[in-house]
């Protein structure tokens, strides 16, 4: 599902509410038929959230960043898995560089590589295409397409039209 809307129309607030950061003033958020407040942490195990902030550390390399963020999410990754994910995101031979020296677009790619190493069925992406070049936008369309065809769900906000091949996407316009 693609969420659209003018600046300040509440796209980020909506996504943060879905994640459970903010409690809705009215209504409720349900996951598998149960209010997310009643889910223990299992709800979070089934989702991957990528916000405006990349959640990567400048001092660590791309490889270390992905291993640490996987660790915080509760699982360990082999170096091979991480390198494969980074390669898919177009970061060959950048695995061991500190993220500090990478460009904005490359940092965003490191953050997006998190989607590839996890197995969460629900992706919640806030402006995933910020700072990405044309090639990476194409890659993102491909990745979301693959995820959906495997039975996953994705909710994302974007100002660019994103064509996901082979799957029907829903659009939600906030005003």
């Amino acid at each position: 599902m693609q969420v659209q809307g003018a600046n300040g129309s509440g796209k980020t607030t909506l996504l943060r509410t879905l994640c459970g950061f903010v409690r809705p003033v009215q209504g409720s958020v349900h996951w598998c038929g149960q209010d997310i407040g009643e889910w223990d942490d299992d709800f979070h195990a089934g989702m991957c959230y990528l916000g405006h902030l990349n959640a990567i550390k400048d001092e660590l390399s791309a490889l270390e960043n992905l291993q640490m963020s996987a660790g915080l999410a509760g699982y360990t990754l082999s170096e091979r898995q991480v390198v494969a994910a980074l390669r898919r995101m177009g970061l060959q031979r950048r695995e061991h560089l500190p993220v500090r020296v990478l460009s904005q677009g490359q940092r965003r790619r490191v953050a997006l590589a998190r989607l590839l190493v996890g197995d969460a069925p629900l992706w919640i992406l806030d402006e995933p295409l910020t700072a990405l070049d044309v090639g990476a936008v194409g890659l993102m369309q491909e990745l979301i397409g693959e995820h959906l065809s495997k039975g996953g769900m994705a909710i994302f906000t974007t100002h660019q039209p994103l064509q996901v091949a082979g799957v029907e996407t829903r659009q939600l316009t906030l005003s």
Partner: protein
């Protein structure tokens, strides 16, 4: 892909924070150098009268340790807050308290532990006796974790506020007074020929009590700050 146990997760958070600190050593060193400077200023300021120095030694070292640990408190969560890692921690399927406990332990290893280890060297400037130095180190080893733990609550509550650095000191310092009293008291007891055991036991009790409650409270405070 292998699931991490809670202990594994705790270890990972500690390792991560230590690794980050090693890549940014200046932050750790400033705390330690501040502590050394403050303690060293006293003998220069009050003059070289051994009796007086010996009497005030434990108090001076403890107050300096308290102030030095306040210096590094605002940094406990702010970097993770600024780059979005804290959001990811909140979304982690494990309990946030465990992650917070890991951060507290790492914070203590980077601020409290070095202070406790260097304190005997500074104690020599005050002509402290060997038993008194031992009491000082033990008291610091038991007391500084409490400072990190109470500090974590303050740091979590003031996250993202302007001028949060000063505010956290104002919040946390009054709560640290018992630790200061019994910590300095342990050395006093040894100086007056008594045993420091009762003071050290109380410090140990504070530490265990804080260990049980503070990670949970700090985690709740973080949730409030993030809303």
């Amino acid at each position: 892909m292998r699931k991490l146990s809670l202990l594994g997760l705790l270890g990972l958070v500690i390792r991560r924070d230590l690794l980050l600190a090693m890549r940014r050593r200046a932050d750790v060193l400033t705390t330690l150098i501040f502590f050394v400077m403050v303690v060293s200023l006293f003998p220069l300021g009050v003059g070289p009268e051994m009796d007086m120095l010996r009497k005030m030694a434990s108090g001076v070292v403890w107050v300096a340790a308290l102030l030095a640990s306040m210096l590094s408190l605002p940094r406990m969560f702010s970097a993770d807050y600024a780059d979005g890692t804290l959001e990811q921690m909140m979304l982690a399927p494990q309990s946030l308290s465990v992650l917070v406990l890991g951060k507290i332990v790492a914070h203590w290893m980077l601020s409290g532990l070095p202070l406790a280890l260097i304190a005997p060297v500074l104690g020599l400037q005050f002509d402290m006796s060997v038993p008194a130095l031992w009491a000082l180190v033990l008291a610091l080893l038991l007391g500084t974790p409490v400072l990190s733990m109470i500090g974590a609550i303050g740091a979590a509550l003031t996250l993202g506020l302007r001028g949060g650095g000063v505010l956290v000191s104002l919040l946390v310092l009054p709560l640290c007074i018992p630790v200061l009293i019994f910590g300095a008291g342990a050395v006093e007891a040894v100086n007056s020929g008594m045993s420091a055991v009762s003071n050290l036991s109380l410090l140990g009790a504070f530490m265990l009590f804080a260990l049980v409650f503070t990670p949970f409270v700090a985690a709740q405070a973080l949730r409030i700050s993030m809303e």
